[in-house]
Symmetry: C2
Subunit: 220 residues, 2 copies
DNA sequence: CAGGCCCTCTACCGAATGGTCAGGACAAGG
DNA sequence: CCTTGTCCTGACCATTCGGTAGAGGGCCTG
């Protein structure tokens, strides 16, 4: 159909379409022929850029994970800058863990914002988080370093008394599955005819933040 | 493999295996040949009992929905009996809506118990709640009457002032997607190597109950 | 024993799928 | 002009899939 191909960006177009299809129809439910037809292209072109269907999925996962990691990295850097600015401005004894909490909150917020702005991304995550799914290992290798890093940071903060003691990994996994669960919720709502309502998503976010706060805030 | 076929229950065996496979590998990811091979049976035997793959999915959905409906019906009947017993024992002006709330709580509890005892059932629900999935319409036709009934009941209670006024449908859908989301959470946890921990599920249940209470309890 | 009936099997089919191979279009550069 | 490399395509292939046709066997009833 709309083969608006300005030369050279075929790869990107394929990645976009593949993300959408994998996220909605699933990996098995996506055929390379259909994917190509939707782009006004032949299947062999897809196989030229990405050697196999499996590698195409890997590429899609890689790009999404890259986007996510970049967004997190950015908010992390910004948050860190603000934190140092605040601590250099005021005395370090001002608020013991408020900047920690702000950072956590910022992370949650940016993740939810991405989830809302690019729902297909959540669809892919949901699809790929099924055990045994191809690409499950791929997404794990992407997420594991992030998780490990967050976990180390949290455990450091706990050791320093700026966070309450809890099972950091379980907390992180809980937060993760909340976000993935939002994908389900959006789909359920849409299937029930309810339009893209913001309320439930906001509620989930508030729920997650409250849960995190009650688990982490030392003054609770 | 273990073709322990005591004659006559082939149908049930197929239904069990199909539920497990549909719930984990998905509809597209399930092949009739594999399904049959796992039962020490030929694919044509499956097609004899269930005319087509699609109808097999329908049958699986039907049975699951039947089980769920039966469990709900049972707890509903029991709860109703207790309610009438309580109101006949004490004066009707005793507690205005406490039995209402008990009923809601019982329903939530029984659903979560089923979710824990038969996780495959949740897997199927998760798989089938994807829009465009075959069987999505089937599960909708099963769930819609239940939903409509619950909604009417809630709206009656609201009109009578025994429940707080809210969007009943949105509330029900939120509860529904919470339950489906539990499936995701369990899978995520298992994929991360965390054993079948009870805690997060219990936490979700508490969260849902709190949300429902805060939305419905008139004394809040 | 005959004749259904229920259940399962072997054999086969057409369609679709992921993937291979050789080659065409075309721009860059010698 | 010819070569070279990039990008894309048509023709083809092997496999797998869901589904059909028909035969055979156990079993109950007449």
């Amino acid at each position: 159909m709309a083969d608006v191909n300005a030369r050279g960006n075929t790869r990107e177009l394929v990645l976009d379409a593949a993300l959408a299809s994998f996220g909605t129809a699933g990996y098995d439910g996506t055929s390379l022929d259909d994917l190509a037809a939707g782009l006004g292209i032949r299947k062999q072109t897809i196989l030229y850029h990405f050697v196999s269907k499996r590698r195409l999925l890997d590429a899609v996962v890689d790009r999404c994970a890259g986007d996510l990691a970049a967004a997190l990295e950015e908010v992390l850097a910004r948050s860190r800058a603000e934190a140092t600015a605040a601590t250099s401005a005021g005395p370090p004894a001002g608020g013991p863990s408020s900047s920690d909490w702000d950072r956590v909150e910022d992370m949650v917020k940016v993740v939810f914002r991405i989830a809302l702005e690019r729902p297909v991304l959540l669809g892919l995550l949901r699809e790929v988080s099924r055990p045994g799914s191809p690409g499950a290992v791929r997404v794990r290798t992407h997420l594991e370093p992030l998780m490990a890093r967050a976990r180390r940071w949290m455990e450091d903060e706990m050791a320093a008394g700026r966070m309450r003691r809890t099972d950091a990994q379980l907390l992180l996994l809980s937060a993760y599955s909340t976000v993935v669960g939002v994908a389900t919720e959006i789909e359920v709502l849409r299937a029930a005819g309810v339009g893209p309502t913001l309320r439930p998503v906001v509620r989930r976010r508030a729920e997650l933040l409250r849960f995190l706060r009650s688990s982490l805030d030392p003054s609770a």
